[in-house]
């Protein structure tokens, strides 16, 4: 208990980290509230007669080119954008941790094999790999889902999530492998093995918990990367399909109106900015506390 209290005491002293934490909590609350109180109907229903109205009391962020309330859409889209950010990190982290753990723990040919695969994946610039995957595998995946009778638009985020998850896992694998190599040398692992504990429990009970800090920090920072990358993919026409709003596709659709109806791209853009800032501040703060070795990352 006191360990957490100590942690919290030090965390509170870092103003940026606190700002980050508050922002992230705020965004998460927004997403939850949006999920409960903002029905999808209200953000896809159009009233063409009020298209492109500037911000007013009635529509605090104005209306978009189809007369939809931008405020509600930005709020609602926090769900999808967070969903993308978090699932991408979850996929990348799970896959990457698993591979990195195996590779670092067992060494030998397992290590060579996995490291080689990771090297190859890292040979592709991250965004490029994500673009290539979502352009090729994306449509196939949706066709496949549709062939089972599912509604394509319900799964429109899937190609983006898979593409980004696929493109990020190698960096986790490399990170975890490095940490496992150093943890493996520690006394407690040796002693555990000496008393006959098998591989799986060692990994699970001794090594994984020691990775927790590193992964938490890195994962927090990668949420923002994923949110930014999603907006990039939307800009290139590879993002989520309408009518499902995401900040990325709102910003991207709104750029047509940038010159004369600047509120269209402004608010989704600001939402991305604030969220990414929040996660970065939080990640940085956590890093200072949890993992001073990672300063350089």
């Amino acid at each position: 208990m006191s360990e957490y209290a100590e942690f919290w005491r030090r965390f509170r002293r870092n103003p940026l980290a606190m700002v980050g934490l508050i922002t992230v909590v705020f965004i998460c609350l927004t997403a939850i509230i949006a999920g409960i109180f903002v029905p999808q109907d209200s953000v896809i229903t159009q009233d063409l007669r009020i298209a492109l109205n500037p911000p007013s009391w009635q529509h605090p962020f104005g209306t978009d080119h189809l007369g939809r309330d931008i405020f509600l859409r930005v709020v609602y889209a926090s769900r999808t954008s967070l969903l993308v950010g978090i699932t991408v990190v979850a996929i990348g982290m799970t896959l990457g941790t698993l591979l990195g753990l195996l590779s670092g723990y067992f060494g030998g040919w397992v290590d060579s094999l996995i490291s080689r695969v990771v090297d190859i994946m890292l040979a592709f610039p991250f965004l490029l790999l994500a673009i290539a995957v979502s352009a090729t595998v994306g449509p196939l995946m949706l066709d496949w889902i549709a062939s089972y009778g599912f509604d394509r638009s319900q799964f429109s985020m899937l190609p983006v999530i898979i593409a980004l998850g696929f493109a990020t896992f190698p960096s986790y694998a490399r990170l975890v492998r490095g940490s496992v190599l150093s943890i493996k040398e520690e006394q407690f692992v040796d002693s555990a093995r000496a008393i006959g504990v098998t591989h799986l429990p060692i990994m699970y009970k001794h090594i994984l918990p020691n990775l927790f800090g590193t992964l938490l920090v890195y994962g927090t920072l990668r949420v923002s990367t994923a949110i930014l990358a999603e907006s990039g993919l939307s800009f290139l026409g590879l993002g989520a399909l309408p009518p499902e709003p995401t900040w990325g596709n709102m910003l991207s659709d709104g750029r047509e109106y940038l010159l004369f109806y600047s509120w269209l791209p402004l608010f989704p853009g600001l939402a991305i900015l604030v969220t990414v800032l929040g996660f970065n501040f939080l990640g940085d703060g956590l890093r200072d506390l949890l993992d001073p070795r990672m300063k350089d990352l």
Partner: protein, 408 residues
């Protein structure tokens, strides 16, 4: 040193092979029949077959050897051939054949004229050099009555890999030109932008990084850190468009789009906005790296000693601290090349910059998969090479790395 470089170069081979495998896999996963996409909806079965053979999706087996004499050329793209089998077979009659010469097909493949009802597999194949075939009276060695079979994925991969090694990445569906040509024509623009962005990022990184490390927690440090964070958090296409509106429309300082002619003042003014857009987040990142590693170095004993001994503090900072803080800086700068190459895809699209990134996006929009994959492959190659270069530089900077590396 030489052996180290050689070893590193050798190590590249499996990575490069892996890169080609992944690229090929993605290409084969992409929807649609590539041959039909390439030739358009009205293509005849024959031209589809010829193209499939050219791409290695199908190949001919069996058949008997024969000779074909060129009797005439019709409209440049039809050869009239007189075909005679070399040996006595059940296919012994002489035949006339009208051979359609596709846009760039070698081997040439055709069907017999007087038997319209022959299946497509009843073909002759002529593997010819490009100069001797089109003269009337020339005899060509041909294979008659071959059978068409589909190749498996592994064969297709090696066929494609062979092409890649020869520098042949296929033909663009939309322009009909070799992919390599399309990519290399745009390469200078991409390198120019990436390079200038990198220089911009490095300069910003060093200047702001050093200043904020020397005066930590000052207004300068805090403001620059905040700005750095904001730039890192903006989607680059939005930043680009806002910069265009601000510095091109409202305050007309720089052109909003396109690339200036090389080595002219326009080149510089055209570069400013895209280079800032592309380089700023890397610059911001580098600045953070440099700041934290310099802070670390500055707090070390020998720097404090040097300062205590009364050495000029500027010289201390430059000579000792910066030098040691540089190692992580160079690594990260090298790794950031990947981010720059990936980001160039977006920035080139925003600024109408005629580079490989824009080509790649246009090709994705046009479902021109040979170009998409060619661009992915070549950008990945560049990235790998840059990483190698950085590693080598790194070993020059810090000889310990090399020793460690070779002891492994």
């Amino acid at each position: 040193m030489t052996t180290y470089i050689l070893r590193r170069l050798l190590e590249l081979i499996p990575t490069m092979l892996g890169v080609t495998i992944l690229t090929f896999a993605l290409m084969r996963l992409s929807p649609g029949d590539p041959v039909r996409l390439m030739l358009g909806p009205e293509a005849t079965e024959e031209s589809i077959t010829a193209k499939s053979v050219e791409l290695g999706y199908e190949r001919y087996v069996g058949g008997v050897p024969g000779t074909a004499r060129v009797l005439g050329i019709e409209r440049g793209n039809y050869l009239i051939l007189h075909v005679i089998p070399n040996e006595q077979t059940d296919f012994d009659r002489e035949r006339l054949i009208r051979l359609h010469v596709g846009e760039a097909a070698n081997p040439l493949v055709g069907r017999f004229i007087e038997h319209e009802d022959f299946p497509v597999s009843n073909v002759i194949e002529a593997r010819v050099s490009q100069t001797d075939v089109y003269q009337i009276g020339v005899d060509l060695d041909v294979m008659i009555n071959r059978t068409l079979v589909k190749t498996n994925v592994v064969t297709q991969y090696f066929y494609w890999l062979g092409g890649v090694i020869r520098g042949d990445l296929g033909t663009s569906i939309t322009s009909g030109r070799p992919v390599t040509e399309e990519i290399f024509r745009r390469m200078p623009a991409t390198i120019e932008l990436a390079l200038v962005s990198m220089i911009f990022a490095i300069l910003t990184g060093i200047i702001v990084g050093v200043l904020s490390a020397v005066y930590p927690r000052s207004i300068l440090d805090n403001t620059s850190r905040f700005i750095v964070f904001v730039f890192l958090a903006m989607p680059s296409f939005w930043l680009g468009l806002e910069l265009i509106i601000l510095f091109s429309r409202n305050i007309p300082l720089f052109p909003p789009a396109g690339r200036g002619d090389p080595w002219t003042p326009q080149m510089v003014s055209h570069l400013v906005l895209p280079a800032i857009t592309l380089g700023v987040s890397t610059g911001a990142f580098l600045c953070r790296i440099l700041r934290s590693s310099m802070l670390q170095v500055l707090s070390m004993d020998y720097v404090r000693t040097a300062r205590a001994k009364g050495l000029d503090s500027n010289r201390v900072i430059l000579k000792h601290a910066l030098k040691n803080a540089m190692i992580p800086f160079v690594t990260v700068a090298g790794l950031s090349t990947g981010a720059l190459l990936g980001g160039s895809v977006i920035v080139e699209t925003v600024f109408n910059w005629p580079g490989v990134g824009k080509l790649m996006i246009d090709s994705i929009r046009g479902r021109d998969f040979p170009v998409t994959m060619g661009a992915v492959l070549i950008l990945a190659f560049i990235f790998v090479l840059v990483n190698l270069l950085v590693d080598l530089l790194y070993s020059v900077l810090d000889p310990r790395i090399r020793l460690e590396g070779s002891a492994k």
